[in-house]
Amino acid sequence: MDVALLALIVLWLALITYTVLGGADFGAGVLGIFTGRNAERQHEFINHALGPVWEANHVWLIFLVVGLFTLFPKGFAILCVALFFPLLLALLGIVLRGAAFIFRYYAPDTSSLFANVWWKVFNIASVLTPFFLGASAAAVASGHLLDPSGKPNAANVSPWLSPFAIIIGLMGIALCTALAAVYLTVEAKDAQDAFLCESYRKKALIAGAVTAVLGLLGLLLSPIYAPGLWRGMLGHGIPLVIVSMLLGLLTAALLWLKQYRLSRLAVIVATAFLLSAWGFSQYPYLVPPALTVSAAANEPNVIKVVLISVLIGLIILLPSLYYLYSIFKLPYPAPGRVTQPEGHRKSDGA
């Protein structure tokens, strides 16, 4: 197999992982806006769900960035110029989201003005980041990001502000929200909180439906704004497109039937297929229509060294990651875990 393709697959897997883990953390921030009654209870619940894992989830993004500039230095340089503004805006959102979450979490008085203001910042940043990341992805997929000679131009804002890019940006928000809501149904069920569980189930169904509608709208707009993507999606990408649609429907059905754990699995796989459909449709281009994967790639021997190191790294990383989730997110005990005293959720972080 072509080593550059292998490198692309590794990065795409990191992108999928970041979306299903980090994306859901943004979604939790979006859900924080729609709390209705029991706002405080839901804030605590989101705090509890995010606290131990958000930093680890966030590292996938760093992995993605450094992986991109190590494996595809030319691609990274071009994207950084062409997407200068949307990436800066996403970055602002990422920074404010992380900082705001931790400020609010550790404020000694969670009803203070300080805590409330940062909670709002957390919410707003959680909306902005997936939007600009989604719009950036749409700009790459559109095939209009680079001028015909293949040169990037930061001042050209139309690729990431086209109706297509805006729809995909909104879809990014909706997808993150759906992911978060589905995960939170499981956590609420484990915490035996029937009210929250039901509330998140409804929100998951609504966010999922919005994601689907925006996705279809994006697909309908793509012949005009992203013709290459449209051809790819209907061409060699069609099986993946169909499977991700079916998995989306399956997620909804499982949620309807209150099969929360299965719906969590389904929504993760659906997201993986959705992102794969995009990648597959625009292959062999990293930035269509000018920059191919092989033209953007680093020398094969460097890619080999990096991929071997990634493999070794994962051997250490995956068991550690499993341990983290087994302590905080899984129902059965892991070595070293003790039963948590009731009613001291917040004191986990104290």
């Binding site: 790294g313 983290l324 986990d348």
Partner: protein, 447 residues
């Protein structure tokens, strides 16, 4: 402000902000590993209380460190796309490995900070080991990438592009051992003094309990071990630079004219136009002794290089002197503190000495900041020495000035909120005392 200057200013501000959190991110985990180990062994409440306090502060500081580090990883490309196009493929590798180390750190930090009630005391303590080890390792990786920018190796230049890339050789470039060790030690020096300063301040305000004395002692212990090593490492760096980066060395020491048996110049007003230093203190022959171990050894001055290849000499010289001054002040404070402890057989509570500790805390961070200014400003006008000038590395994007202003405002906002929150948390009367999570680990110690 030109876009190039704005790009440099934004990168510099981001680094100056991030480095504070990175240094604490390397130093604090070792401290709470030691303190919790002592708590489990001695079953002393104060040690556990210190650990709990620090872990709360660490959770806030590390989160800010993680997000400010993310800014930097993006800014490498957003502000310096040509640098990444040229250098990303050569030096991305240690960044990638740093990513893994940071990942492990984040995982075990999550377990450590949020697992007080979920993990047995022993499992909890064991989680602190991967945190401090991977923090140290990630510092090594990321500084090796900076070392490469100073002494680039591991590739061949062909048609203006790097080819035949050997990422491992690039990572192990000549500067790597000197720079990485200097930075790793700096983290421990700064964290040690910072922690000691907090408790010295408490004692000065009348809190003379065992809790504060223990906090002061453990901070000063870290400082007294790391500071002398750091000064030795600094000496190695200076000698290395006099050969490997003579322009940087000459700028640090404000040496305009080459010669034999050169004096060292401390302080003074550097006048690059007239190629002289006004009002500096000159110690004869000392520079030749320090750099070459021979009072009459020849040294290269800036006259050997074209002025277009000079860094900003007044800034580099000033930063260097401030760094060295802060370092020696710390050494003095640590030495007096421990000599006095050895004589009196207890922690000294002399007000002047405690004030010295309080001042040494911020000065240790000032040393880190100015040290990085020496490294980064001293490398100018190059981004990759000999291969890529900073002016050619910058982004062609417009409105970089606005981006700089917006990000500066965000940093100010975060700094104010962070300091406010840390003071607020510190003033809240130990909310963890008397909670089940607090009592448990102490009682179960040694299980």
């Amino acid at each position: 402000m030109s876009d190039l200057l704005a790009a440099r200013a934004q990168m510099g501000t981001s680094l100056a902000f991030h480095i504070i959190f990175s240094a604490l991110g390397v130093g604090l985990p070792l401290l709470f590993c030691i303190a919790e180990g002592l708590a489990l062994k001695t079953k002393n409440r104060d040690w556990m209380l210190l650990t709990r306090r620090w872990s709360k502060g660490a959770a806030i500081l590390f989160a800010i460190g993680a997000v400010s580090g993310t800014i930097l990883s993006f800014e490498l490309g957003l502000l310096w796309p040509t640098f990444m196009d040229f250098g990303g493929g050569v030096i991305g590798y240690p960044f990638m490995l740093e990513g893994f180390a940071f990942f492990l750190e984040a995982i075990f930090l999550g377990l450590y900070l949020y697992g007080w009630n979920r993990l047995s005391p022993r499992a909890h303590w064991l989680c602190s080991f991967p945190v401090w080890i991977s923090a140290l390792v990630s510092a090594w990786f990321v500084v090796s990438a900076n070392a490469w920018m100073n002494t680039p190796t591991g590739f061949v230049l062909k048609n203006g592009r790097p080819v035949d890339i050997d990422p491992i050789q690039a990572m192990l470039n000549p500067s790597t051992p000197y720079e990485t060790i200097h930075m790793m030690l700096a983290c421990y020096v700064a964290t040690g003094f910072a922690v000691a300063a907090v408790y010295a301040w408490g004692i000065l305000r009348g809190k003379r309990d065992n809790y504060h004395r223990k906090g002061l002692m453990i901070g000063m212990l870290m400082a007294v071990i790391a500071t002398p090593l750091q000064i030795i490492s600094g000496d190695f760096n200076a000698r290395f630079l006099s050969d490997a980066q003579p322009t940087k060395f000459a700028a640090m020491e404000a040496v305009f004219h080459s010669g034999n048996g050169l004096p060292i110049t401390i302080g003074g007003l550097v006048d690059p136009d007239n190629r002289t230093v006004h009002y500096g203190i000159e110690l004869p022959k000392l520079l030749s002794v320090l750099a070459k171990g021979d009072p009459n050894a020849p040294l290269k001055g800036l006259d050997q290089f074209a002025p277009s290849d000079w860094p900003n000499i007044p800034l580099v010289h000033l930063s260097f002197d401030v760094m060295v001054g802060c370092g020696f002040f710390g050494l003095l404070v640590a030495a007096v503190f421990w000599i006095s402890t050895a004589i009196k057989r207890r922690i000294p509570l002399n007000r002047v000495l405690l004030w010295g500790v309080v001042i040494a805390g911020p000065l240790a961070f000032l040393a880190i900041e100015t040290g990085w200014m020496v490294t980064e400003l001293g490398r100018q006008p190059w981004t990759i020495v000999g291969f890529l000038r900073t002016a050619d590395a910058a982004t062609p994007a417009p409105w970089v000035t606005i981006s700089f202003l917006v990000f500066s405002l965000v940093y100010i906002l975060l700094a104010v909120a962070l300091i406010g929150l840390l003071l607020w948390v510190a003033r809240s009367p130990m909310p963890q005392v008397g909670m089940p999570g607090q009592e448990q680990p102490v009682e179960k110690a040694g299980v």
